[in-house]
């Protein structure tokens, strides 16, 4: 039973990691690739480390596995947010089928994203005038 649960979690986690790789290779936009990479790989690594914790039923191994899972759950959104903000401020082009761009609507003075954006730090601060 323990072996079966560990094997199922391991293959499930590897499947989510494969989904992350396919998404990064195939999606048309940086931001779509970023969300595929972040969410799918976090779930995948969580499943695989839980499989490790179930396979070795040891307190030290379980503690470290839970620690790494918590670390990934804390740092993956932070890293993705940092990369996305920096890429948007640097003017990475969106997909041509994009419908809404909320950060563009919120900044009245940034009419061209490829131009000078020295006020990009205050965009999400809510200048909704």
């Amino acid at each position: 039973m323990r072996e079966q649960a560990s094997a199922v979690l391991l293959v499930l986690g590897a499947f989510f990691m494969l989904l992350a790789g396919v998404g990064v290779a195939r999606l048309p936009d940086l931001f779509m690739r970023l969300q595929a990479a972040t969410k799918a790989s976090t779930l995948g690594v969580g499943c695989m480390l839980m499989a490790v914790a179930i396979h070795f039923q040891d307190l030290a191994v379980t503690t470290r596995a839970v620690l790494v899972i918590a670390f990934f759950c804390l740092t993956a959104p932070v890293g993705a947010h940092l990369i996305a903000r920096a890429a948007y401020a640097a003017g990475v082009p969106l997909w041509e089928g994009t419908i809404t761009d909320e950060m563009r609507l919120s900044s009245r003075d940034a009419q061209d994203r490829s131009g000078e954006n020295s006020s990009s730090a205050g965009n999400e601060r809510g200048d909704g005038s």
Binding site: E3, Q4, S6, A7, V8, L10, V11, G13, A14, F15, M17, L18, A20, G21, V22, V24, A25, L30, R33, L34, A37, S41, T42, G44, V45, M48, L49, A51, V52, H55, F56, D58, A60, V61, R64, A65, L67, V68, F71, F72, T75, A76, V78, G79, L82, I83, R85, A86, A87, A89, A90, G91, V92, N117, S118, S120
Partner: protein
């Protein structure tokens, strides 16, 4: 259908290593031909996470629980690298 535990373990770890290997290959393709620099940063970040998963599968396959320390250190270094790259991108975008 009398699969023993050892056979299940061998099958699952082999399958998981193959799938994570394919994912690493696809991510490496994006790393090579990413149009912009943030694409390459995203691919490099994902490669770090995939390597942690590969270490987990290899750890079960080899029965070596010591390798989990390597995964911990790799996760920490990967996050620091991502933050450093994001800082660099932000500064470069502001300058250029």
């Amino acid at each position: 259908m009398s699969l023993s535990g050892l056979e299940i373990k061998t099958l699952a770890t082999g399958l998981a290593l193959a799938m994570v290997g394919i994912a690493l290959f696809l991510t490496f393709i994006r790393l090579v031909r990413g149009p912009t620099l943030p694409d390459r940063v995203v691919a490099l970040d994902l490669m770090g996470v995939l390597t942690v998963g590969m270490i987990a599968a290899y750890e079960i396959a080899m029965e070596q629980p010591v390798l989990l320390d390597t995964a911990t250190v790799l996760a920490l270094v990967g996050f620091l690298g991502t933050v450093a790259f994001a800082r660099y991108l932000e500064r470069r975008g502001r300058d250029a």
